[in-house]
Amino acid sequence: MLKFALAGNPNSGKTTLFNALTGSTAHVGNWPGVTVDKKEGVYKKGPEPVEIIDLPGIYSLSPYTPEEVITRNYLLDGEADGIINIVDATNLERNLYLTTQIMEVDIPIVVALNMADVLRKNGDSIDVKTLERRIGLPVVEISALKGDNVDLLMERALQAVKEKRAGTSILKGSIIWPAISNAEIALKLKDVPAPLFHAIKLVEKDEIEVKNHPAEAQAVQAFIKENVCKKEENGIDAEAEIADARYKYITAHFSSTLTRARKPSYDHLSKSDKADKVLTHKIWGLPIFLVVLFLIFHLTFSDDLFFIGAMSGGFGGRAETLAEHPVGYIFFGGGLNTPGMILFNLMDTLTSLVGEGLTLGLEAMKAHPGLVDFIVEGMWGGVASVLSFLPQILVLFLFFSILEDSGYMARVAFMLDRIFRRFGVSGRAFMPMIMGFGCSVPAMINTRTMSDEKEREATVRVIPFFTCGAKTPILLAVAGAFVAYFKIGNADVITYAMYLAGILAAMISLLVMRSTTKRGEVSPFIMELPTYHVPGFKNLMLHLWDKAKHFLQKAFTIILLSCIVIRLLSVFTWNWTYIGEDMDKSILASLGQFIQPLFTPLGFGSQIPQYGWVFAVAAITGLIAKEDVIATFGTLAACLGAVLSQEQLDGGVAQVAYLIEVTGITKAAVISFIIFNMLTIPCFAAVAAAKGETAKGKFKWTLLFWIATSYVVSAAVYTIGEFVWPVAIWAVAIAAAVVGIVIYNKHMNKKEARAKLLGK
């Protein structure tokens, strides 16, 4: 099968084209660098199927960030038969800069002039014929979003690969050319593939190239000194000369093919500029961001829309349960329900109907009561308690997708960079962190857009602290149960506070790591700010569908399976006798009791004699998938014979409240339990992702970091909350740690400054 690689600038629409060509639903965003790994798909509409490879977006083939290296290696490996170079027509000059580099490789190339529709809408036009002639490559105007001319593009691409193509360069005629052509001859003698490309990189003193061809590199530099510098008075800087020559050539030969309807002027404000003026306003920019963030969480999790209920002194006719008033239950809580809550209640209704249906069906089949129990409460109960949170996770995800797609997220990074820098990371870290609220796995992979390895590793470590969709149920159910059982506080407030506590833990950890084990200067922040646009409905729905599919798959596979295993382990003894509700003798109980003492300092260990091990078991099952924590509670509550109505069974709150009651766990320990689960080792998938993104052999430190952080913070919360007096000990310990880190930091700063001076 023929292989085509998609290469182009970040945010030029490569992934959109990839989706249009392959019918795939890969994640697209209005943020430079959404694709950070290569993806493969098949284009089937042509005469023969063709493989399409979506490469990470890059500005140049230089060797500085991981995704640049991925793309560069792929193009040079000769694996691809042809390259489709996507060029954003609305940003011609900078996009063609990459084209002038790609054309130096010996591969057939087709230029896809994307966003042709946007260009026309602005009244501008590009003389494609002239551009094609001057650039020496086939050029096709397309709109990846609308699918215009996409098939024509593939037709031209298939045509192009029929002939071999040797690299060409626009640098001929520049004063550095003699050096390049000599280097090319030398590399040809060595039988290096794509000699022109390598020759140019060698002249640029590219790190990878110099390492691969040290002898030639020396010869090239000597040649430049001998022949080129003589003509120049101040010597010559090949790297600057080449970059400069590329842009000069583009301005002189390619830019003129673009005819603008209006003469470009900085004073003219487009709609995007006007929106930007408000959203990044000097005074209002940051408050607007905070309000947006608050609104998102409010619309997703609150049961009192805009606090109408609280302000009007509560709504009349409030329905507590479904049976009492089905419609009221869905739409009204203490006030008007928010969209997230309405969907939550709808799902709740749905899962309880399924549960009732299952019971009726099984009873009609005269199934054994133990089996009915096992299926309805053990299996379905566990899965349903997780499923019920799907709507809210999707709503939250939708809001973040809208922000990302519109281009606002990039502006938030712009506004927050100054603050982030104080914590030792650049504003770029903002995107993976925000993605962490959805799922840690893509968030960790997204850190590849960060160029500094230490900064990247520190960011990967704190990403799980941003409460992900799977941890949300723990927060909601345990916080809900806490309020329901102890009759204090407000579930909303506890949920918000826990989200904030996670962010705080992340920031403090970053600060500590960047001044101790992960020291280093903050990496540069040089980032394109994309034009705002209204998010595409189709695109948003694709994101949502992807997320929902992933969640459902997990619920009905790994979570269902763990529910079954836990249920089985909890109703049988070691010699496989069925014990029913006498769970204290079960296999699970003995396993739980074995590890229970570990959690004593955290408040949910040996101090809870009665069924206390359920918390230990739940925390451990959370390592498989965080949803399992609540699913485990659901299963175990059922085993303990919690007599709950069907509505109470779903949603997890009542089950957790029941467990709090039978175990007699204290308030402080419940909070400590939530915190432990938020900060400890994330789920299996995230652990694998983190391992993939950190240096080989160093991952054990990341694991240790998670265990230590969660253990220490939970212990502090529990002991202080329970006995108050340990606050003095913790205060001293924290003060000592802070002083120690500050002194160490100062010492290291001095040492580094001295080393720098000596080095120069």
Partner: protein, 75 residues
């Protein structure tokens, strides 16, 4: 000698030289900040840093520390 970081909001200038070294310098080149390029300081972030410039028909953000590597002159 004027630097890109010295520009005021709404000021235009032409790049004359790019200093610094390694990855930062290379990135500045790749993003189109080369001698002769016209730049316009669109705005500063709410906390004064980073800055947003318009060049070659698009918007770019960079920190003042990085912009200090770029020498400019009035046009």
């Amino acid at each position: 000698m004027k630097k890109l970081s010295d520009l005021k909001i709404g000021e235009k200038a032409v790049v004359t030289a790019v200093n610094g070294e390694g990855a930062i310098r290379r990135r500045l080149f790749d993003m189109g900040i080369t001698p002769g390029a016209e730049v316009y300081l669109r705005k500063k972030a709410p906390l004064g840093d980073p800055i947003e410039i318009a060049l070659r028909g698009y918007e770019l953000t960079l920190r003042k520390a990085e912009a200090a590597h770029v020498e400019v002159k009035e046009c």
